[in-house]
């Protein structure tokens, strides 16, 4: 089918008014709000950091300097690699990975329960309880976590009162607060795609497997998880991408010694005023995240089309 025929069919199906609206809205969203800004970021990342008067001047040429800096560090530094930034980069990705796994383990049973085990008005109330906390804004939630996990927060008070610890545990320094905060922030993004898929799983399949003698773990392993795979991968992708790219939670809940890679990016953009370097760092983070997600999809044999489910 050639393109003009495809357009014709599209307009026939949706009508001229709705058809043009859809086309313009999606086009605007895709091109103006996503592609153009990212392209300009990409462009930025290959330019020198120049004072405004010199922009567009003879010195304004393309360069790999910022990517080099991320990899090798400042010229003449003691180390041959940019150990600090790369270290933060890797730690961020590893932490995001564990946040994802943690959320997955936490949310799968919940999503299964919501989607299969019950199925009454009771479920809707549970879902509501899950959603309402998200009406509170992110910063407020992060600070609330800081208070709860603080030296004199509820958790420490409780531990002290029960005599489990003698001195308050420094949850902030140990990054417990950060991981909990991040995990908590994206729970819904993990639950809902899984819940959607699991809800559509025919109960009879689970019963059929049980009837043939399968214990609960095999039912999950062979029936539920393969079926829920699109939802699982969609949830994991979102949680991984968003935790790796989170800024507020690490700013507020992160320990003093642990930096999140986004914080470095933020510093380059803001404090450093070095937009090209910030852009280069951001592009590297984005590309590596996409690469990781794509390889994970390949590993678990998930097709791109499934993610949209």
């Amino acid at each position: 089918m050639n393109i003009s025929a495809a357009f014709k069919r599209f307009f026939n199906r949706n009508g001229l008014g709705l058809g043009s609206f859809l086309l313009i809205a999606v086009g605007f969203w895709l091109i103006v709000l996503i592609i153009l800004p990212q392209l300009s970021m990409l462009d930025f990342s290959f330019r020198h950091h120049l004072p405004p008067p010199e922009m567009g001047g003879p010195k304004d040429t393309y360069t790999l300097e910022h990517y080099k800096y991320l990899a090798l560090g400042a010229q003449g530094a003691d180390q041959s690699y940019n150990v600090v930034d790369l270290g933060v980069f890797v730690r961020t990705l590893v932490a995001a990975f564990f946040v994802t796994i943690f959320d997955l383990l936490l949310c799968y049973p919940l999503a299964y329960y919501l989607g299969q085990a019950s199925g009454s008005g009771y479920t809707r109330i549970l879902v509501l309880f899950l959603i309402i906390p998200y009406w509170v804004n992110e910063i407020l939630r992060a600070f609330a976590f800081r208070i709860i996990f603080g030296d004199s927060g509820v958790i420490n008070e409780l531990l002290l009162a029960m005599g489990l610890v003698d001195n308050p545990v420094d949850f902030i320094r140990d990054n417990v607060a950060l991981y909990s905060g991040l995990g908590y922030a994206y729970i819904l993004l993990m639950i809902f795609p899984m819940y959607n898929v699991i809800e559509s799983l025919d109960r009879n399949q689970i019963e059929a497997a049980r009837d043939m003698g399968a214990p609960w773990w095999r039912i999950h392993w062979r029936i539920v998880i393969p079926y829920a795979k699109p939802g699982i991968s969609s949830g994991c992708t979102m949680v991984f991408m968003l935790s790796a790219g989170a800024l507020a939670a690490p700013q507020i809940l992160g320990g003093p010694s642990s930096l999140w890679f986004t914080q470095i990016i933020y510093q380059w953009f803001n404090q450093g005023g070095n937009w090209p370097r910030g852009a280069a760092y951001a592009i590297v983070l984005l590309s590596v995240c996409i690469l990781i997600v794509l390889s994970a999809m390949r590993l678990f044999k998930v097709r791109m089309g499934d993610i949209g489910k």
């Binding site: 009879n204 049980r210 399968a214 214990p215 393969p226």
Partner: protein, 370 residues
């Protein structure tokens, strides 16, 4: 393969909250029998089956399989295999993996599983189709895969919940014969659920007819058809002309019924109604459409009914004649097609007769509503 074992339900009640879905079910199913539950939608058939397979605990009463009380034994530990109303094949597993799933559960190795699956595929005439996905099969083929999957578990009792209801007529008739053949070959007990009476009658050794949670009658198909024990069974299984009235007199196994609209008619009292029916009682008399024929003479008799022909329908081997008796009483008569040209008797008045042996009278009760 294991021989069939008996199943019995002893005074089983199943309640959902205040709602009684099954009331006082007492059923004895012999090992190796083909037993059907027949009843209209919502009468509790699936509920009974689920309690036998262990997905549901009866509120009261016992379920015995092969002499063992099944109380507290889960569905994965019972010697039963259930074929679901919608088959419930696993869509992401290949056909052979579906069939051999019960072996996978037991930890049998891949090669052995594949071998057994291929044997079963041969049996259901799907040789070489093991590597397809269920979605690549036709309705009847899926059906057979579901049967093979259940048989692979080597159950003592196979439970089938309206497995043919999704198929078209031709395939349904074909699968009926096939199911019956499979049952005779493997020799295990089949408990079959259906709301289709001809399905129940053609396949089963015994049929239990249910109405709103109550089992009205358990018998072989012919008895159910010829000697229904309640007005519900008489009107639900096959077609019947119903005549309401009162018992006028009783003579041996015959009763004279004074019907409301069609005069006095003679009828046989079936075994189940003997002794329960007395002179003066409200009664219902049933005459099958095929038991009616055109009378040789028009004289009034206690096995004659007069009626006006409303309509005639040609149905291949039979003519269905729709008539209206005195007082607007609707009747149906089925005549065997003798191959000779018939002139339509539409609008004419006929005298019908029947053999009193082929009419039965029962104490008045609830009828099956269409």
């Amino acid at each position: 393969m294991s021989r069939g074992v008996g199943v019995s339900l002893q005074d089983v009640w199943i309640k959902f909250g205040d709602f009684v879905a099954v009331r006082e079910a007492n059923v004895d199913i012999q090992g190796g029998a083909f037993f059907s539950f027949l009843g209209p939608s919502g009468c509790g058939k699936t509920t009974i089956l689920r309690s036998v397979s262990g997905f549901l605990d009866p509120s009261q009463g016992k379920i015995i399989i092969g002499g063992n009380d099944m109380a507290g034994i889960g569905p994965n530990k019972r010697p039963t295999a259930l074929i679901f109303q919608n088959l419930a094949l696993f869509p992401l597993m290949k056909v052979w993996e579906n069939i051999a799933f019960s072996l996978e559960v037991k930890g049998v190795g891949t090669a052995a599983r594949r071998k057994r699956a291929d044997e079963l595929l041969d049996m259901i005439a799907l040789t070489g189709q093991g590597d397809k996905l269920p979605s690549e099969l036709s309705g009847g083929q899926k059906q057979r895969v579901a049967i093979a999957r259940a048989l692979c578990a080597e159950p003592d009792v196979l439970l089938l919940d309206e497995p043919l209801s999704a198929l078209d007529l031709k395939l349904r008739q074909h699968m009926r014969t096939e199911l019956r053949e499979i049952q005779q070959r493997v020799g295990i007990t089949f408990i079959y659920i259906t709301h289709d009476q001809s399905e129940a009658l053609t396949m089963s050794d015994h049929v239990a007819v249910m109405k709103a949670g109550v089992i009205d009658q358990i018998s072989d198909g012919q008895t159910i058809y010829d000697d229904p024990s309640t007005p519900f069974v008489a009107s639900f299984v096959g077609e019947n002309n119903v005549f309401r009235g009162k018992v006028k007199s009783i003579d041996g196994d015959k009763a004279l019924i004074s019907t409301n609209r069609s005069g006095d008619l003679l009828s046989r009292i079936p075994l189940s109604a003997k002794g329960t029916l007395g002179v003066g009682d409200d009664a219902m008399m049933f005459i099958r459409p095929e038991a009616l024929s055109i009378a040789k003479d028009d004289a009034a008799a206690n096995n004659h009914v007069t009626a006006l022909v409303l309509n005639e329908e040609f149905e291949g081997q039979t003519f269905n004649v729709f008539l209206e008796g005195d007082g607007g009483k609707e009747m149906k008569m089925s005549l065997v097609n003798q191959g000779k040209a018939r002139e339509s008797a539409k609008g004419s008045s006929l005298t019908l007769e029947y053999a009193p042996d082929q009419a039965i009278v029962l104490p008045a009760g609830e009828l099956a509503s269409e």
